[in-house]
Symmetry: C2
Subunit: 307 residues, 2 copies
């Protein structure tokens, strides 16, 4: 099970009733935070969560509305007696930005910063792991080096006693092999695939803001359970504006969702001038019916599909 909490849905500036876009992903005691603009620490508390349990902070990019809450977040983690390192993952520029912000945020715990170059981001394959979550950054198309994040919770195959017998796995080892990659007994090595069916479909969430609607987003989101996507404006008349500022219309996000055949798409990262995003949802739903406007504090619980 993966919980996805939309902490904020705003772009550019935080508003009285709309925190800057960020998202908390929770799975089996591990937490991943994506982006941390001004006020994100308040949004986390308002949603009923704690900062101290965050294992990985993913930063889409270094524009202030995505990172300006970092000093406050780090200091509050410190006030909560955090000692374990915090992994930070993001595109080119995050190290300089974080070093700048640390001028006002003296902390005692370590930051394990993974700044991924544009070239490496194109082909990044090794997941960052937080418990059962695997996080894969990928490039999106903004006016600044910017990453999207694909978060997967893989699911192993079902136990298959017939297969275990075919592979001559002693029954005493069946239980142990379901929990371990391999087990040795009497000098013979037995591997998990000898007792399990092929891996089942896991859970997949893709988060992509601050981008034009490039094909890569749809590729990463292929058959995802949830796509959380940039939607700066709903009004089709704002196309020139989103092209110029490297953002997206609701309809463009919906086309990505439709192409990727995701189960559900949530729009976020609204312009501060967009008071009522839901008034424009038709422009997304007529392309991809399972499009919805995210609101601050919205929580989605994603479960594995039935066997």
């Amino acid at each position: 099970m993966l919980e996805t909490i939309i902490l904020g849905t705003g772009g550019t500036i935080p508003l009285k009733n709309r925190w800057l876009a960020s998202c908390l992903l929770r799975c089996s005691g591990s937490d991943v935070l994506i982006d941390c603009g001004e006020g994100t620490q308040i949004a986390i508390k308002s949603a009923g969560y704690s900062m101290s349990s965050i294992d990985i902070l993913c930063l889409t990019h270094c524009h202030a509305d995505h990172i300006s809450g970092l000093p406050g977040l780090l200091l509050t983690m410190g006030n909560e007696s955090r000692t374990k390192p915090l992994t930070v993952v993001g595109p080119r520029g995050i190290k300089a930005a974080i070093n700048g912000l640390l001028a006002i945020a003296p902390i005692v715990f370590e930051l394990d910063i993974h700044e991924i170059s544009p070239e490496d981001l194109e082909t990044w394959q090794t997941p960052f792991t937080a418990g059962k979550m695997q996080i894969f950054p990928f490039p999106v198309d903004h006016d600044f080096p910017c990453a999207g994040f694909r978060v997967e919770v893989p699911r192993g195959g079902k136990f298959n006693p017939a297969k275990a017998r075919e592979n001559n796995v002693p029954q005493a080892l069946w239980s142990k092999l379901q929990k371990n990659q391999q087990v040795e007994s009497d000098g013979v090595i037995y591997t998990q695939d000898m007792v399990l069916d092929a891996p089942r479909k896991g859970i997949k969430v893709v988060y992509a803001t601050d981008s034009r609607p490039v094909p890569r987003i749809a590729e990463e989101a292929r058959q995802a359970d949830l796509l959380i996507c940039e939607g700066m404006y709903g009004d089709p008349g704002k196309l020139a504006r989103v092209i110029e500022s490297h953002h997206m219309l609701f309809s463009e996000a919906a086309t990505l969702a439709q192409t990727a055949q995701v189960k559900r798409m949530l729009l976020t990262h609204y312009s501060p001038g967009l008071d009522h995003p839901e008034e424009y949802i038709q422009y997304a739903q007529e392309i991809f019916p399972n499009s919805f406007c995210a609101v601050d504090g919205m929580k989605e619980v994603l479960a594995f599909e039935e066997d």
Copy 2:
């Protein structure tokens, strides 16, 4: 007339219902902001004001809860097409902190930063001026270089026709001399003091947070109209804690107000653990009856005294 708007009353971390301590001072079209923690730009908007009109930003010190909102403030000023320079005044450390924060806040307008050394802060006499407001920084006692601010709106003397006649000022110059320091006519220089009585009592506000209750605060606040003062805790049992962290109890702030004979004192900069400051106001009021707990958004309008 001077408007004082308490934008936030929180110390350490911003809370859902309490912004970090900051204060907006407004007088005849000029605005001064004191401190800018995470979320201050939202507090300004929530209170119904704009960022673009701020002339001077006073920073008490560089702890994150007093400065972490700066990148967002500057970027929003930029989005509002600001081109005029912003004067920033504060104690040692503000330049390094601001330079760090500028890593995520590219702006086109100039910052005119006045970083005042501890030695200079002790004896600072030259006011920073924003329209009719004169701002005098002074040292307080924190665990980090930290300033308080005395803000004055001076008021000239009343026009005195008898004095003008005594000084042989031609009647044709009377009106002009009330608006100008000096006027020349037929080779003779006439000065304002020839037609005006002695200056009258102006308006004085003192802002002092993040300090132990040092005598200097009372000296600066001598007969002030308003003292806005640090009050981390109300409970007298927290004395050791405020001594250790260089803050104040309500009772200590009240003693300063009583010593300074101010008209009114507002407590602010509460601990995040202090849910209901007003429950402890008795500890201040039994020392100085005109003590009150500030709340976010509180506005005080200070007028000149009657002639």
